[in-house]
């Protein structure tokens, strides 16, 4: 007895271009797509342009110096050309970037920046163009994430009611028919209703999966929903194991982190549970003055060997400035503009230190038009991979977001203009609906909140800043075991409006799917490159591993293989030199 679509869906919303995610890439894609003669709908988990990492980025935006000077009129070095920018990106990405994407990225960066400035983005008056490490010239136009979001909102305001917004709506899955993406299903978190949105083209712009890790510098909504949705829709992933981490400490437990990279410059003592300066084992010459990745490796090894502190917040080591005289610390603090109470705390007490996830360099595989291998499915922003390779240059994240947002909006709108009306498979929708509401109906089972914390702890320890084969295999086994347990998740509270345990249950499903891909790709790549550190394969192997690791779900299993790099002529010249 099959039901009609209207019976299965609480609300049916027909549209042409559906965008999942509304900050950064999502907003830019919406602005672009709305310029065409298509209906645009934006679905977002929180409020429009207030849910995501772009708003809280204290940011610089990269473009090549010559264009910054010519197009935007800011003081920059004119000797810096697009070619130099391209080269810097390849060097930082250790040559496994998708060079076609990088080429288009450096072409468009300054144009998108100029648009943002036209829409009212203010530039920092003190230091308009900043020179960050890794760049050959001054390239980072300093602004704040807040200004970027305000500029994007002004861009969205130009279209007024033409774009439809669904706030507090969590996208669950992309629907497919005959191998083509035909729309999505979502849950309205305010009322608990089930929405079906048939669409001709779908753009995923949900940001990185930072909250999969226990400690993260990102926002709480980023639980890898976009990656999981793409995986279940059959999209490829490229180098998903590349994740950038940052050493941080707590400010106001149990929330609120602060990066300690600048503090590492004055060599604090890093101690384990026994009060030993454990860096003696990992870098006996330079101890705490070692490079950032060696410090990260040191911290993680201590945690693995159970020599770190471990409590309900997670596992960490201790950092202390007690060996330095007070006035030295005060003088240094003045140059850094930390708050008084933070510095007092640092001088008096030991603070925890750990590596928090910061940015996802790998993700859904796209080409230079933001198309995935599924027709009708596009992706833009941090959720995609291939742009940055193994490591991201400082300031390139916002550039990626505005540049790729435009490509995705353009490509999706052009596709939607020519595509046929989407046909939905009602059985598929019904299956998803049953899975979504199951935790609400179950009377007893496992708690989703506890499961989420376990996943976060496991991801931090086993698939974290440094990896080893035994732990990765252990993590994959644990993920598979949790997946078996997943149907037993229930919510203790049965209300339908903003049921936080229910949201946790939906997010946990996505976190497991995404984490499995990351862990398997990390296991597959048997070398260390950029921010992927394998303790058992510590060397970078340019003979065998100048390739990309591709992952894809087929019949419920994740298949992994390596593919040769996507190169351009110019890129090959640089790589060979």
């Amino acid at each position: 007895m099959s039901r009609t679509l209207h019976e299965v869906a609480d609300r049916l919303i027909d549209t042409d271009v559906l965008i999942i995610g509304s900050e950064g890439a999502g907003a830019r894609a919406a602005i672009e797509a709305a310029g065409y003669d298509v209906r645009v709908t934006v679905v977002t988990k929180g409020s429009v342009a207030k849910t995501g990492a772009t708003l809280t980025a204290g940011t610089d935006i990269d473009a090549d110096g010559k264009s910054i000077h010519d197009l935007c009129g800011l003081p920059a070095d004119e000797r810096d050309t697009r070619e130099t920018f391209f080269k810097d990106m390849l060097v930082e990405g250790r040559y496994i970037n998708n060079q076609k994407i990088v080429e288009r990225h450096v072409q468009d960066a300054a144009l998108r920046l100029k648009e943002l400035m036209d829409w009212g983005m203010r530039i920092s008056p003190k230091d308009p163009v900043n020179w960050a490490p890794g760049h050959s010239y001054r390239r980072g136009v300093m602004s704040t994430g807040r200004e970027v979001c305000k500029a994007l909102i002004r861009g969205l305001q130009m279209f007024g009611r033409k774009i439809e917004y669904f706030e507090h709506t969590m996208a669950i899955d992309v629907l497919k028919n005959n191998g083509r993406a035909v729309g999505a299903v979502a849950v309205d978190l305010e009322t608990g209703e089930f929405l079906v949105l048939p669409a001709k083209a779908v753009i995923i712009a949900t940001g990185g999966g930072l909250k999969i890790y226990g400690f993260t510098t990102g926002n709480q909504e980023l639980t890898g929903d976009g990656q999981a949705i793409a995986r279940r829709a059959g999209a490829d992933f490229i180098d998903a194991q590349q994740i950038q981490f940052l050493t941080t400490t707590f400010r106001h437990p149990p929330v609120s982190l602060q990066s300690i990279n600048p503090i590492l410059n004055i060599s604090p003592w890093l101690l384990n549970r026994f009060g030993e300066r454990f860096m003696m084992k990992y870098d006996p010459e330079r101890l705490e003055r070692s490079t950032r990745d060696k410090i990260a490796i040191g911290i993680m090894r201590e945690i693995w060997d159970r020599r770190g502190w471990s409590d309900e917040l997670g596992s960490y080591v201790i950092m202390s400035l007690k060996h330095l005289p007070d006035n030295f610390v005060d003088n240094w603090a003045r140059t850094r503009s930390y708050s008084k109470e933070f510095i007092e705390n640092l001088k008096r007490n030991a603070v925890p230190a750990f590596s928090a996830s910061h940015f996802f360099c790998g993700g859904i595989r796209i080409n230079e038009r933001c198309e995935t291998n599924v027709p009708g499915l596009y992706a833009a922003g941090e959720v995609t991979g291939g742009c940055h390779g193994t490591n991201r240059l400082s300031g390139n994240a916002i550039t990626q977001v505005i540049v790729q947002g435009k490509w995705a909006g353009e490509a999706a709108a052009e596709y939607a203009l020519k595509a046929k009306k989407p046909e939905i498979d009602v059985k598929q929708v019904e299956e998803i609906r049953n899975k979504v509401y199951a935790p609400l109906e179950r009377k007893e089972g496992n708690s989703a909140t506890k499961l989420k914390k376990n996943i976060q702890r496991m991801a931090y320890e086993d698939v974290g800043v440094v990896r080893i084969a035994s732990r990765l295999e252990g993590a994959i086994k644990e993920i598979n075991r949790m997946k078996v347990d997943l149907p037993m998740v229930y919510t203790p509270y049965k209300g339908k409006s903003f049921n936080m345990p229910w949201i946790d249950a939906l997010e946990v499903r996505n976190m497991l799917d995404t984490l499995e891909i990351i862990a398997r790709c990390a296991l597959f790549r048997t070398e260390s490159r950029g921010n992927h550190n394998r303790v058992d394969y510590p060397e970078t192997d340019n003979r065998n591993w100048l390739k990309n690791v591709i992952a894809k779900e087929e019949d419920g299993e994740v298949k992994i293989w390596a593919e040769p790099l996507v190169t351009t002529e110019f890129g090959e010249k640089i790589a060979s030199s």
Binding site: R122, P125, T144, R146, I153, T191
Partner: protein, 198 residues
Amino acid sequence: MKWQFVVCDPSKCVGCEICELACSISKEKSLNNLYSRIHTVHLENVGEPISSMSITCHHCKDPVCVKVCPREALSQDERTGVITVNTDFEAKQSCHVPCGWCMASCEFGALILNPKFSMAAVCDLCPDDRVDGEPPCVRACPKDALSLATTDEVVKKTESKTSKDILEEHEKAREDSKTFYEKFGYMPMPPTKVIKKK
């Protein structure tokens, strides 16, 4: 020494809205009422105009806008009573992607949302644009209804009884510090049974 602000005499005001244009030209160099920090309100009864008045920041004693801002971006100068909005580029306590709480809680409608920068803005008595001590809106008023003064001074000068009463009511509201809804009896949480939106 009481705080001065731009006061309007309702018996003289004709509702021409020239003060709004003067404010927007002076502050934002554009002829757009949305940028103006002073609003003209028109009271009508079935299409028949009854009265008009221009309202701007009344420099309340214990301002609600300052209390309500979640980031403490608003502050009041003790000497003049002028409210300043912190619009610094990166400061912690600056107006953000706006929440609009100050705008919604001010019953006089004194705080506006500047459309260009998406931040709150309020009358600051134009310290840089005075001619004979008068800000642009006061100069522009063709009926001399506006003056930079305290309410008492304007009450003494006006001859209409209605104006006296209205101005005295406003003065009372300035001294009081209850919020809009507490005074006019609105419950801000109508149980919006959000079942079927739109």
